[in-house]
């Protein structure tokens, strides 16, 4: 393996203009809502007003009779799934649950749960028709928190869910229906001995709110059920192949009979992997023989897509006199939402990943509650875990009077550290991110001023490899059409094209990347797990190498020299007595032989994992509890930054979302289990006035499993912010916040509680 840091690149590390940029800034890019087909009908979805209810009956007759209504669909129009489990790329899913989430079967499990759908000549008629559908509900008590849901005798959401053991957890003797879908247990060393050796032990409990990814573009799908039984879908998705498979499985038709065309995507962050609308649009299309388009409104996006879970975390850490962590214990319960599948397993694996701790134990619970089924959100499960563990780490530092940076350096995970769940780290760069923060201008200048404080926190995310396919066709003018299957949510068309251009020795502007539909490119896994620049990048490099081999052999033929005397470097082909640039050669080959088409696939390589360390300064208004972010620096091990601007953008975006999560974002439910703030006005994403310029520090520790050392960068930057901000608040205002969001009223309540005599916070 060459040392990538020593290599000099022509394209990698530069900042070209993105290939899809002009169409996006001029409004020409086609998103799902722009799909317009001959005979297109508008679809609308009726959603449950109850958080938990049994459906006694649905009467659609009045809606069907409304002029302009072409079809009405309910779960009766979906095929029976039995109780089969299907592998859908993001773990196996109980198809009955997936189907019931698309259109409720006999129960609604959250407010906003889809119950019926209408296709009509226009959206206004469709919406009027929804008002004519009569649903007879038997309301049931909603279960809104993990604490309630885990209590014996709690109302049961799903009678087909029993607790499954995972890791070292043991199966329950008696398997009866439960709201707890999964029980994880991971252990390492001897916990009791570890705590016996600890001089300082801190244990805290943390409470987390449900939060949404907040992508700007709502979910959408247009479906056409062709007369030959095939189904075309145009949609916003992070994974056209998983969307195809989910749609096919839900409709019980052969997977290759569905073609998914991924449109441009206005944000996903993990939330656009599950399908909600395509099967519904498809059955409406089957009934009408016409294409049907459904676009969610913002309330539906909040209430009926997949947020990331709230829950409860308890963390107990023990350190010896020297400041070495010797024991760690964690208990995590995450809300799955209506159906199993919270990221609590990932939370368990991430919670102690930044620390080399000899004795540890982590227990996790996936708990069904009457909220929408949770879904991936940027390093799913890790941000919550980091908030808990990093806060306790800071308290240990405070107790031991140890510098938080020194403490972290002393305990940091590095190559060879074994995680509590088993895997051993290969070359990772946590220590380097800590050093980068230590060397930063920010670290060296104190926050200064009254009511100000500083916080530091680290975070970890795995990153994944998985499968990708790329084809590349060289045109007669020497430009390359690069076809890939990864929907581009973070500038990956350009980062893939750059790796291709670097490998083939051509300018990146001569590569025209395109994201193709599922019939036009090889299988490609979802755009998720920070995998695209890594894995689709490998496929693009392979495609370039394939073309290089073809070019060499064709040049040998053309020049009539042995292939081993032909050499291709930096875009120039040479052989004794011959020399041609890429473009010259290609023009000649176009006249003399078959087309030049390269292919590349990936699937074997796995990523080494990403670490980040952040530093933040805040000011707390001691009279209102409001927190202002004054300065933010984020150091991250980014492997090799292919396009530094996009890497910086990913870091800034992740931090921005993390700041929102820390300070204001939450699903605010009333006592009937109804979300009251399902708008961007009241679901408070940070605005530009709430964020300082976020300064990224790119630490490049190349990942040895990628030809250019790429490491996924999109997810880990969201992990440290809530913890770092909580720690900064503690320094600024003297209060330890253990609940997210750290909204002004909560910070103020903590400040007032502290100032009351005898009510000092524990230290």
């Amino acid at each position: 393996m060459p040392d990538n840091a020593q290599r000099s690149y022509k394209v990698i590390g530069t900042r070209p203009i993105r290939h899809d940029g002009v169409d996006k800034v001029t409004g020409r890019a086609k998103y799902g809502a722009d799909v317009m087909l001959t005979g297109l009908l508008a679809g609308a979805v009726l959603r449950s007003p109850h958080a938990h209810a049994r459906i006694r009956s649905i009467d659609t007759s009045a809606a069907e009779a409304l002029p302009g209504v072409r079809a009405v669909a309910t779960a009766r129009d979906l095929p029976d799934q039995g109780s089969r489990m299907v592998e859908l790329g993001e773990g196996s899913v109980n198809m009955r649950h997936l189907s019931a989430n698309v259109l409720a079967h006999d129960k609604v499990l959250y407010k906003g749960h889809a119950v019926a759908a209408v296709a009509a000549d226009n959206i206004h008629i469709a919406q009027e028709a929804l008002k004519l559908i009569r649903v007879d509900y038997e309301p049931l008590p909603p279960v809104m928190t993990v604490t309630e849901a885990m209590r014996a005798g709690a109302p049961l959401l799903n009678d087909d869910v029993v607790t499954q053991p995972a890791g070292n957890a043991e199966a329950l003797a008696e398997s009866k229906p439960s709201n707890v879908a999964k029980h994880f247990l991971f252990e390492k060393g001897n916990l009791d001995e570890g705590f016996a050796r600890a001089k300082h032990v801190v244990e805290r409990e943390f409470h987390l709110a449900t939060v949404h990814q907040g992508y700007i573009e709502p979910h959408n799908a247009t479906a056409l059920w062709h007369a030959d039984g095939k189904v075309s879908v145009w949609m916003s998705t992070q994974g056209s192949f998983t969307a195809r498979q989910q749609t096919a499985e839900l409709l019980r038709i052969p997977v290759s009979d569905v073609k998914v065309t991924p449109m441009e995507i206005g944000g996903g962050f993990g939330g656009k992997i599950s399908v909600y609308l395509p099967p519904v649009a498809a059955i409406l299309s089957r009934k009408t023989g016409r294409p049907v388009k459904i676009v969610m409104d913002r309330a539906a996006v909040f209430e009926a897509t997949g947020p990331t879970p709230g829950g409860v975390i308890r963390v107990k850490l023990g350190a010896d006199e020297s400041g070495k962590l010797v024991a760690a214990d964690a208990w995590l319960a995450y809300e799955a939402g209506a159906y199993p599948g919270s990221p609590v397993g990932a939370g368990c694996m991430c919670i102690f990943a930044c620390y080399d701790i000899p004795n540890a134990r982590v227990e996790g619970f996936d708990v069904c509650v009457n909220k929408p089924r949770t879904n991936a959100y940027r390093a799913p499960g890790s941000t919550q875990a980091a908030f808990a563990v990093e806060t306790v780490v800071d308290e240990i530092c405070q107790r031991l009077k140890l510098d938080p940076l020194e403490f972290r350096l002393k305990n940091a995970s590095s190559e060879g550290t074994r995680r509590v769940d088993g895997p051993v780290f290969s070359r990772v760069g946590l220590v380097e991110t800590l050093q980068a923060i230590g060397n930063s201008e920010h670290y060296k200048s104190p926050p200064g001023g009254p009511n100000r404080g500083r916080g530091m926190a680290s975070g970890f995310w795995f990153n994944v490899g998985l499968k990708s396919s790329v084809t590349a066709t060289i045109g007669c003018d020497g430009k390359v059409a690069l076809v890939e299957g990864s929907p581009d949510i973070g500038g990956t068309r350009t980062s893939i094209a750059m790796q291709f251009a670097e490998t083939l020795g051509i300018p990146v502007e001569d590569v025209h990347p395109a994201v193709a539909d599922t019939d036009s490119v090889g299988y490609t896994d979802v755009t998720g797990g920070s995998r695209v620049t890594f894995s689709t990048g490998i496929a693009a490099v392979e495609a370039a190498r394939d073309l290089e081999r073809q070019l060499v052999s064709r040049a040998a033929e053309l020049w009539n020299v042995p292939a081993d005397q032909v050499c291709y470097t930096n875009g120039v082909m040479t052989a004794p007595g011959h020399k041609a640039t890429f473009k010259e050669l290609v023009a000649e080959l176009h006249e003399t032989g078959e087309p030049l088409v390269g292919r590349g696939t990936s699937g074997k390589a796995n990523q080494a994992g990403a670490f980040a360390t952040h530093l933040v300064d805040v000011e707390v208004d001691p009279e209102t509890g409001k927190v202002q972010i004054l300065r933010y620096t984020a150091a991250q091990d980014v492997g090799t930054a292919i396009h530094p601007s996009y890497v910086e953008g990913q870091i800034q975006g992740g931090v921005g979302q993390g700041i929102g999560w820390a300070l204001n974002e939450e699903y605010w439910y009333d006592d009937r289990g109804s979300m009251r703030n399902a708008t961007f006005l009241d679901y408070r994403l940070p605005t530009c006035y709430d964020l300082p310029m976020i300064e990224p520090i790119l630490v490049e520790v190349p990942d040895p499993s990628h030809p250019y050392g790429v490491r996924g960068v999109g997810e880990v930057p969201i992990c440290p912010p809530p913890a770092a901000i909580a720690i900064a608040i503690a320094q600024a205002a003297g209060v330890r916040m253990t609940e997210l969001p750290m909204a002004p009223h909560k910070v103020m309540a903590a400040i007032l509680a502290k100032s009351r005599p005898g009510n000092g916070q524990p230290h």
């Binding site: 208004d621 409001k626 709430d690 909204a743 103020m748």
Partner: protein
């Protein structure tokens, strides 16, 4: 959504006639920043819309020795840019500058904000503090109602079927007067006030004593509120922290907020006291001819 009829009359008489004819199912449209949103989300229903922007009486914006005449359809941006408002009715400019972004401010009117009658409306406390009087046109001619009596419940006001708000009149503040509006929001922009406070004060010529004061509170009750007991506490008192703190404590007692997604009742009472103190200090600074350097959201 069903079809809606639209008319844009150019005389008050025509406007009143259309309003009277349709009564229950009619809505006035000024900037539309509330109306269109509410129609789209189904929060309100209307069969007839009357665009009031072409009524000259509703576009009046005049300041003189008699005071200020503010037409009900004048947009926030015009309010903020008006020199006399910046000088003498500053709280109105404070409010206008934080309602929405620039695009919204070019559409939204203070009159519309008043007619929407939200408890957390950002311009109503300022209009109350500056002793605004609503001029209302109806089938029986014109009538006047003080701004603090205009709203009667969340989203409800004294307008009867067939009536519309024409303008808000403000008396010219005495010399050595100053006013300010500030709200507390969890973010620094794009938010609904958790609590909003406006105050207008008049000081003695040497700036040492409160001669008059009016404090108005938003988002702490079903309607924006004139905090009379808190206001009267100021009169005759020396301008100092104690007098301001006493008025702020009285304002806190008058606040009767609810707990909702924007804040708890306890927190709102606490904020009422904090904001009243800060707003009064700023109004005093302005009354003394000073500049208030307030960064919205902070």
């Amino acid at each position: 959504m069903h079809e809606i009829d639209y008319e844009s009359p150019t005389s008050l008489a025509d406007a009143v006639a259309i309003l009277q004819k349709n009564r229950e199912s009619v809505r006035c449209l000024a900037g539309g920043t509330d109306l269109i949103d509410h129609l789209r989300t189904g929060r309100i229903d209307a069969r007839q819309i009357v665009d009031v922007k072409k009524l000259p009486e509703l576009q009046i914006l005049e300041a003189g020795p008699e005071g200020l005449r503010l037409g009900a359809a004048v947009c926030c941006r015009s309010v903020c840019a008006h020199a006399a408002i910046q000088q003498d009715y500053t709280a109105l400019a404070d409010s206008g500058a934080i309602i929405g972004g620039i695009q919204i401010q070019n559409r939204a009117s203070l009159g519309g904000n008043l007619c929407n009658s939200g408890p957390a409306a950002d311009s109503i406390p300022s209009m109350v503090a500056l002793s605004g009087i609503c001029v209302i046109a109806g089938p029986d001619g014109l009538r006047e109602v003080p701004v603090e009596k205009f709203c009667v419940a969340p989203g409800k006001n004294v307008l009867k079927p067939g009536e519309l708000l024409v303008e808000i009149r403000f008396p010219k503040p005495a010399a050595h007067s100053g006013s300010h509006y500030r709200r507390f929001i969890p973010r620094n922009e794009m938010d609904i006030a958790v609590v909003g406070v406006a105050a207008a004060v008049t000081l003695s010529a040497d700036g040492s004593q409160f001669v008059a004061g009016r404090i108005s509170l938003g988002a702490v009750g079903p309607t924006p509120l004139l905090a009379e007991e808190a206001s009267t506490k100021l009169i005759g008192k020396p301008v100092n922290d104690d007098a301001i703190a006493a008025a702020a404590a009285a304002a806190r007692e008058l606040a009767a907020p609810i707990s909702d997604m924007r804040g708890t009742a306890d927190y709102r009472k606490h904020l009422t006291e904090v904001l009243t103190r800060r707003v009064l200090s700023a109004a005093v600074t302005r009354a003394r001819g000073g500049k208030v350097d307030h960064r919205p959201g902070w």
